[in-house]
Amino acid sequence: MPRLSTSLLAILVGVSAPGAALAAQEPPTPQQTAGARTEAKASPLVSTEWLEKNLDAKGLRIVEVSVEPGVFERGHIPGAQNVVWHTDLVETVSRDIASREKFTALARRLGIDKDTTVVLYGDNNNWFAAWGAWVLAQYGLVDNVKLLDGGRKKWEAEKRPLDTRSAEVAASSFAAPAPSPAFRARFADVLAVAKRERDEQILDIRSPDEFSGKVIAPPGVQELAIRAGHIPGSVNVPWAKAVNPDGTLKSPAELKTLYAAAGIDGSKPIITSCRIGERSSHSWFVLSRVLGYPVRNYDGSWTEYGNAVGVPVVNLAGTVWGGK
């Protein structure tokens, strides 16, 4: 019996050991190199390596925008602050991005000013982080806003340090301008393209089955539109095709080829669209910030267009809503 017990005790202690693995890690020392500074200046992306070296850099704010609740609190990039996409960046009663007042208060709390370098990252391949970048862009925070290439997934996979304490930053005195319409397409814009009244391209980044109309929403997601299919004239490149298996974005050359195959080469204005406008901000970021194409994101997306009365729709699959 005692021998048995010894092994059991040893095992129980062993079982608890993995929990300690992430507990104590030294914060990295800031080594801001000239090369690193260039990387942040030139590209809309920063690498995990660069970020770890520049965690304490002046004028840098790191912001996590994740989908799953609790991931930020249980371990985030040291110094990062949390933004909750479905309350902080939107109006919760009407369907809109955060109002000017609300955004001003948020940016001040995060210590973000016009010249602050903001690194956004999150789970799900930076899905909502890119959406955050799109909201920030409308309030004039464009060139200084970067995505962490690979997002949370890559940072964690490389076993870089995480922190559970909340950062304390000095508030800024940012005052949001009126939101710029340059990054956002509205229903009327999309309808004009659908009716061929305007020569623009619509990039639909949903799955092929949603695009063809076989399904109205991805598996497990509520059907919020009562028509299936897509906006006439749009082309389909699922958003995740822009991402490597490790979560990083493909190279600009690869991205150019990917979108050129669908006829999108930046020669015409582009509108990105999906179901609710969040996944399409990822493609918006890729096309506008990485490739430099003229792009607006249509956040109304299929849940607005697919519910509109009297608009042209392409429904390749012939799915009838509510039909048996």
């Binding site: 005692p2 059991l8 005790l9 095992i11 993995p18 909340s166």
Partner: protein, 412 residues
Amino acid sequence: MSGPVAERSPPLPRRPALALPTGRELVRRVAPPGIALGLVGAALWLSGEPGGSRLALSLTFGALFGVVLQRSRFCFYCQWRDFLVAGDPRGLLGILAALAAGLAGYAVVLGAWMPDPGGTRLPPDAHIGPVGPVLLLAGAVFGAGMAISGSCISAHLYRLGEGSPTAPFALVGTGLGFVLGFATWNPLYLVSVADAPVIWLPRHLGYAGYLGLALAVLAFLAWPLMKRLPDPVAPNLCRGSDPLRALFSGRWPVWLGGLAVGAIGTLAYLRVGPLGVTAEIGGRARQAAGAAGLLPARLEGLDTFRGCATAIREAVLTPNGLFVAGLVLASFVAALASGQFQPARPRSGHAIRGLLGGLLLGWGAMTGLGCSVGTLLSGIMAGALSGWVFGVAMFAGAGGTLWLGRRTGLLT
């Protein structure tokens, strides 16, 4: 091998000198380290998989929780009954110890995560539920289910590892009770739950204020219990000089188990999520009921509440599923190693009480968005008023049912 699970320490096994161990003895020697090694191996394998560290930790915390529950007989109903029937307050003091330790732990964690509790935000995935008449009803029905089936859901899980003849029926009944709960959810939601306020006490009192008040309430509850403590006898821990024997034979005092529960609750919240044992049962019940066409087309507002979420599982391995698996297996290991694995052939009484009590447990846990662990323990620790309300209703329901059952001769 029938009869109730041993609650006193069995005599220490004597090792026959130079005699070959019997088959059963061999199993008792080989199985515990074997299963424990398997658990460790599974946790290590999971932690190596991409995104698997959360799963590995869930399994680990579940296993630790199972050992603690089994070793200290941390069973809400048994302790409540010990007090009501035998006048022994030690078990209830153990539950209060768990709450006190967890309250302090959560305050430390929450203070770091949300330095200002005053805003409109709630701490992430903490079990803070709506408070209203439906919660009271859920707690009381859950309590009745405890009295009829002999324990709450978490205790049935650890007793499954002890070979209890009632636990399998109670857990099947719990699954059915969840389906019943889904069927009655929509009317209850529309009539009452939708308007019930979600009250997080630290928002109104601050962390220190809530911690101080909650500890004062626990002290107030503990005071009369302390006066009824039996005369001190040599506790199990001091028997003999071998600390391993103290760990693996007899039972731990409940207060010790309670402190461990508070610690595990805090650590689990810090790393994975609040303790809870019904999310997986509820989620799988919802999946099965959906497949069988027994589910309402839409469960109004259910997925917007915190608690033991019953979202339909897509993955085979989920954190809560591994937590429950770890709990049952580790309890089995602990029971086997301490000679408390005493399987009994179920009789019809076990089946009827298990199924009926389980049905009430399941309905109460679904409607109350968790059980004695998810809503009561994790809720109170996180500062949810819903935890306190559920707790009061649960103990009242269990006590009332026990009283009624003893008067009618149906319960002992």
